[in-house]
C-alpha cells in the first residue's frame, strides 16, 4: 500500500516530550507557544516546529502542565506518544470500550426485559385514559428516556452530528428507530384520547431492548475483532524490551531497546530474544527464526552471519553489532507492512463500499414508504402498524455487516499469512493470488539453491583443467553473477594462482572478455561465442554431457579457439519438487524462466516437474516474457529473488519475492516470502483463496440479510402469512448480523496450509 502516512514519534530522551500543537499559524504563534512552555516549571528548553506543528520540550515538567500552558494562550496541545505505547494502549482502550458497552447493555436490558416480560406474561401494553396505568406508563416512559440518554446516548449524539454534516450512518437508523418508538409511546401516554382505542399501545420495551441488544452486538464485535487482530499482537510481542549492550570498556549493561544505537555491540545469552537486527561478531549458536520466516528448524549463527530482531537465541552465546534499530529492523518493517496491508481494500469489496455509502438514506426512504403503505392500505390500527413497519425496517437494516464483510476477512487472512512468514503487501495482491492460473518461476535461487558449483571441466587440446579454471576465474572475478562466483570459488578451493587480466569487457547476461598474457580470452554462453565468430562445433559432446546433468555450460575461448567447457550445476532445492506438485494440484500451470540453454533448462524442468520452459532469456527480457504469458487472459504470478527479477515481478499480476533475496525484488513484489521454500508460494495462494472465499461468504451473507430482512421488516409477508416482525426481534437480528460476519472472518484463524500434495485443494477455509 502506497500510503504516505507518517507515524508520530517521541523525542528520544526520557526528560523530553513531543507535543502536537494545533491552531498555530505564524512565527509569532511559535514565539508565544515557546515562551509559554518555557515558563512552565521544570522546563529547560522548548522549541516548536511550525512545519510539522510539533513542539519539543526538554526537562521534567508534567505533561498536563505543558498542555495547559499552551491551551491557556489559545492553542491546542496533545502529547505525542511512541507507537509502541499506542499499540500497548490499544488493548486497554478496547477493554474500556467493551466494559462501557456491557454496562450500557445491562442498563438498557434492565428496563427492557421486565417491560417485555410484562407484555409476554399477559400484562397490558395499552394505555387507558385516566387510569393508574397511564401514570405507570409515564414512569416507564421517563425511565426509557433515561435509558436512551445514557445507554443510547452514543447513537443519538452520533446521529445528530452525522445529520448536521449531511451524513447518515448506523447511529441514524438506531436513533430514528428507537426515538420514533419512544415519541409515539409518549404521545399515547400523554394524550391517549387523541388516538383511536386500538392505537393506544406503548413500545417503551422495544426502545430499551433495541438499545440493549445493539450494545450487546457491539460488545461481541469488539471481542471478535480483538481475536481477528491477534496476528499483529503476536508480532508486537516478539519485540524485546531490553538488551545487554557492551560499552567501550567491556562492561555489560541492560539498556532499553529504544536506546540501542547503530554499531552497539550486544551480548545475547541462551534463551534470550535478539533485540535489534545485526551482524554476529563473535560466538555461535542456533537461532529460532520461525516467528519471522515460518521455517521450523533453528538456523546456525556464527561470525559474519545476520541476526534479526524478534528471533530467539537457543543454547549458545552470541555477540553482534547492531546494524538496524528502531523502525528500521526487519520486524518493525514487517509489523508496519502487515498493519498497512490489513487496512487495505481489495477490488472485491468495492461494490459493498458503493452500496454502504448510500445505504442509510435509502433505508430511511424505504422505511417511510413502508409506513405510508401500512397507513394507507393496512388494517386497523393502521397508525400502529405503520409505526411498527417504520421502526422495524430502520432497526433491521445493517450497513455494518456489509461494511465489515471485506475488511474483517482481509485483516484475519493477512495476519494469518504473516504468521506463516508470508507478507502480503495489500488486499489487491491477495485477491489476485487467489485467481492465479499460471505461475512463472525464476530458476536460480528460486527453484535451485542459488549456490552453483563447478561440477565438470572438459578441456580441448593441450589445456589442462587447472589452467582453464584459472583463466576462467581471472575473467569472472569482477562479476557478481552466481555462475561467476562458482568458478572463482572453485579456483580458490584449488588454491590456483590467477593470471592478471586487463581490458575487461562485459556483455550483460552473455559473458566477459579480457586480455590475459597478451591473448584475447572470453568466457560466456554458446550464443555469444557464436556471435563473436568462434567455432564451437567441437563442444557438442561436452555440452550434451553437462546439460544432461542439469548443468550450465560456460565456454572458454582463447584467441578465438574454444579451450574448455566448464559445467556449473545449481542443485534443486530439496522441497521444490513437492511444492511444484502442490501447484499442479491447485490447477496451476508452472513455467520456468531462465537464461540457461534449452537442454539444461529442460533437464532441470524434468527433475523439478515443471510443465513448460522459457529458456535462453536475457535478464532484461524476463518482464517481456511475463507480459507474453499474461496476454492470453491468464492471471500470471512471477516468483523470483534477484535484482534482475524486479521488472518481471512488477509486470506479473502477482509478484512473489523470495525473502532470502534482494530488497529490490521484495519492493517490486506484492507478496514476500520470508523463507526460501517454494512451499511458501503455495501456502500464500491457499491462504489467499481461503480469504477470498471467506470474503464472498461474508458479502453474500450481508447482502442476503439486508435483501431479505428489510422487505420482511416492511411487512411483505403479512398479506400471505399474517407475520409482521417485531422491532425487538429486528434489533436482535441486526446485532447478530455483524457479529456473524466477524465470527466467520475469525474462522480463517483456524486455516492450515496443506503440506502434502495428495491432500491439496484450492480453497479450504
Amino acid at each position: 500500500m502506497n500510503h504516505t502516512a507518517q507515524h508520530t514519534k517521541t523525542h528520544a530522551q526520557d526528560s523530553s516530550v513531543q507535543l502536537a500543537i494545533s491552531g498555530a499559524t505564524c512565527a509569532s504563534c511559535v514565539s508565544s507557544i515557546e515562551k509559554a512552555l518555557s515558563n512552565v516549571e521544570g522546563v529547560t528548553s522548548a522549541s516548536m516546529n511550525l512545519a510539522d506543528h510539533t513542539a519539543y520540550v526538554e526537562g521534567g515538567a508534567p505533561t498536563q502542565a505543558l498542555t495547559q500552558a499552551v491551551e491557556a494562550i489559545g492553542y491546542g496541545a496533545t502529547l505525542i506518544e511512541e507507537n509502541d505505547d499506542v499499540d500497548a494502549q490499544r488493548d486497554e482502550q478496547e477493554q474500556k470500550y467493551y466494559r462501557q458497552l456491557i454496562r450500557d447493555m445491562i442498563i438498557a436490558l434492565g428496563l427492557g426485559v421486565p417491560l417485555m416480560l410484562w407484555g409476554l406474561l399477559g400484562g397490558t401494553m395499552m394505555v387507558t385514559p385516566g387510569s393508574a396505568s397511564q401514570w405507570g406508563w409515564l414512569v416507564a416512559g421517563l425511565l426509557t428516556l433515561a435509558v436512551l440518554a445514557t445507554a443510547g446516548r452514543r447513537f443519538f449524539v452520533g446521529a445528530w452530528k452525522a445529520f448536521i454534516h449531511h451524513n447518515a450512518n448506523m447511529d441514524t437508523l438506531i436513533a430514528v428507530g428507537t426515538g420514533t418508538a419512544w415519541l409515539y409511546s409518549m404521545a399515547v401516554v400523554l394524550a391517549p384520547s387523541v388516538l383511536p382505542e386500538a392505537a393506544r399501545h406503548v413500545y417503551f420495551e422495544a426502545s430499551s431492548m433495541i438499545i440493549g441488544l445493539i450494545n450487546l452486538g457491539l460488545a461481541l464485535e469488539v471481542r471478535a475483532r480483538g481475536k481477528a487482530s491477534q496476528a499483529i499482537k503476536r508480532l508486537l510481542d516478539l519485540r524485546a524490551k531490553t538488551a545487554r549492550v557492551i560499552d567501550e570498556h567491556g562492561n555489560e549493561n541492560d539498556v532499553p531497546v529504544e536506546k540501542i544505537q547503530l554499531g552497539d555491540h550486544i551480548r545475547v545469552r541462551p534463551g534470550e530474544k535478539i533485540a535489534v537486527d545485526g551482524e554476529v561478531v563473535s560466538g555461535s549458536s542456533f537461532v529460532d527464526e520461525s516467528m519471522l520466516t515460518g521455517e521450523p528448524l533453528p538456523v546456525r549463527k556464527e561470525k559474519d552471519t545476520l541476526v534479526s530482531a524478534g528471533t530467539l537465541n537457543q543454547q549458545g552465546t552470541l555477540t553482534f553489532r547492531a546494524t538496524r534499530v528502531g523502525k528500521d529492523t526487519a520486524l518493525a518493517q514487517i509489523i508496519a507492512l502487515v498493519k498497512s496491508a490489513q487496512g487495505s481494500r481489495p477490488p472485491i469489496g468495492r461494490l459493498a463500499d458503493k452500496i454502504s455509502a448510500v445505504f442509510v438514506p435509502s433505508v430511511i426512504i424505504i422505511a417511510i414508504i413502508a409506513a405510508m403503505i401500512w397507513f394507507n392500505v393496512g388494517p386497523d390500527p393502521r397508525g400502529v402498524y405503520a409505526l411498527i413497519a417504520l421502526t422495524t425496517v430502520l432497526i433491521i437494516a445493517c450497513p455494518c455487516a456489509l461494511g465489515l464483510a471485506t475488511p474483517m476477512s482481509i485483516m484475519v487472512g493477512i495476519g494469518k499469512a504473516a504468521e506463516a512468514g508470508i507478507l502480503i503487501r495489500e488486499g489487491e495482491a491477495l485477491q489476485k493470488a487467489a485467481n492465479i492460473s499460471v505461475i512463472a518461476l525464476d530458476k536460480t535461487g528460486t527453484i535451485t539453491e542459488g549456490k552453483p558449483s563447478v561440477t565438470q571441466i572438459i578441456t580441448f587440446g593441450e589445456t589442462d583443467e587447472n589452467t582453464a579454471l584459472a583463466l576462467a576465474a581471472a575473467l569472472e572475478q569482477g562479476s557478481e553473477h552466481p555462475l561467476a562466483n562458482a568458478v572463482v570459488n572453485s579456483a580458490k578451493e584449488k588454491n590456483l594462482t590467477l593470471p592478471e587480466a586487463t581490458h575487461f569487457e562485459s556483455a550483460n547476461g552473455k559473458g566477459v572478455s579480457a586480455t590475459i598474457n597478451n591473448e584475447q580470452v572470453v568466457i560466456g554462453n554458446l550464443r555469444w561465442l557464436e556471435e563473436l565468430g568462434i567455432n564451437t562445433s567441437a563442444c557438442n559432446d561436452a555440452t550434451t554431457r553437462i546439460t544432461s546433468d542439469a548443468g550450465t555450460p560456460l565456454y572458454l575461448a582463447r584467441n578465438n579457439t574454444v579451450i574448455a567447457v566448464i559445467g556449473v550445476t545449481d542443485k534443486i532445492k530439496v522441497d521444490a519438487r513437492d511444492a511444484i506438485a502442490r501447484m499442479h494440484q491447485l490447477g496451476l500451470k508452472v513455467v520456468m524462466i531462465t537464461g540457461d540453454i534449452q537442454s539444461t533448462a529442460k533437464a532441470i524442468a524434468r527433475e523439478a516437474g515443471i510443465d513448460d520452459v522459457i529458456a535462453e532469456v536475457l535478464p532484461a527480457d524476463k518482464a517481456q516474457k511475463v507480459k507474453a504469458l499474461r496476454s492470453g487472459n491468464q492471471i500470471v504470478a512471477m516468483v523470483g529473488d534477484g535484482i534482475n527479477d524486479a521488472p518481471a515481478l512488477a509486470e506479473a499480476d502477482v509478484g512473489f519475492a523470495i525473502g532470502t533475496g534482494t530488497d529490490i525484488a521484495i519492493e517490486s513484489a506484492g507478496i514476500t516470502l520470508m523463507r526460501g521454500s517454494l512451499h511458501g508460494v503455495v501456502d500464500a495462494i491457499e491462504i489467499s483463496s481461503a480469504t477470498v472465499k471467506n470474503i464472498k461468504e461474508n458479502l453474500a451473507g450481508a447482502f442476503l440479510y439486508n435483501v431479505l430482512g428489510v422487505p420482511i421488516a416492511a411487512g411483505v409477508l403479512y398479506p400471505f402469512t399474517g407475520l409482521l416482525l417485531s422491532p425487538v426481534l429486528a434489533g436482535a437480528a441486526m446485532s447478530l448480523s455483524s457479529v456473524t460476519v466477524v465470527a466467520n472472518a475469525n474462522r480463517l484463524r483456524l486455516f492450515k496450509a496443506h503440506k502434502h500434495p495428495s491432500n491439496t485443494t484450492r480453497s479450504d477455509a
Binding site: A5, H53, G76, I80, K161, S340, G343, A357, I369
Partner: protein, 120 residues
C-alpha cells in the same frame, strides 16, 4: 384530513432525505493552515468533513480519533491508496502529497464515517 397530513409528511420526509443527504453539496471546505489541517474523528463524523486543497500541494492531516468504536479505527482514502490505523486520543499525522485534481471520499472501514477531500 389525517390521511392527507400523514401522506404529505411522508412525501415531504422522503424529499427532505433525498435533498439533505444526496443533493445538498457544501460550497466551501476547510483549507489547510500552514499545510496542516486538524481532523477529529468522533461521534460518527469527521470534523471537518470537507477539506479543500490545491492540486500539486502537500497537506498534513493531524488526525485525532476520539471515538472508541472499532469502525472508526481505520481512516481510508481509496482514491489515494491510503489506509491508516488511528490510535485513540493521540494525534496521527498523515501526509497527503500532490494528489491530482478530483474529489476523494474519506471514510472508515464500514463507510459510516464519511468525508470528502476536494482537490482543485
Amino acid at each position: 384530513m389525517i390521511t392527507f397530513f400523514v401522506n404529505g409528511l411522508g412525501v415531504g420526509l422522503i424529499a427532505a432525505t433525498i435533498w439533505w443527504f444526496w443533493i445538498w453539496t457544501p460550497r466551501k471546505g476547510v483549507a489547510a493552515s500552514n499545510g496542516h489541517i486538524a481532523l477529529t474523528v468522533d461521534n460518527g463524523t469527521y470534523t471537518p468533513a470537507l477539506i479543500d486543497m490545491q492540486a500539486g500541494d502537500a497537506i498534513t492531516l493531524d488526525i485525532v480519533r476520539k471515538d472508541a468504536s472499532p469502525c472508526s479505527e481505520f481512516f481510508i482514502i481509496d482514491g489515494l491508496n491510503i489506509s491508516v490505523q488511528l490510535p485513540m486520543n493521540k494525534p496521527y499525522q498523515l501526509v497527503i502529497e500532490k494528489p491530482e485534481a478530483g474529489e476523494y471520499a474519506m471514510h472508515c472501514q464500514m463507510n459510516m464515517y464519511q468525508g470528502t477531500l476536494r482537490v482543485r
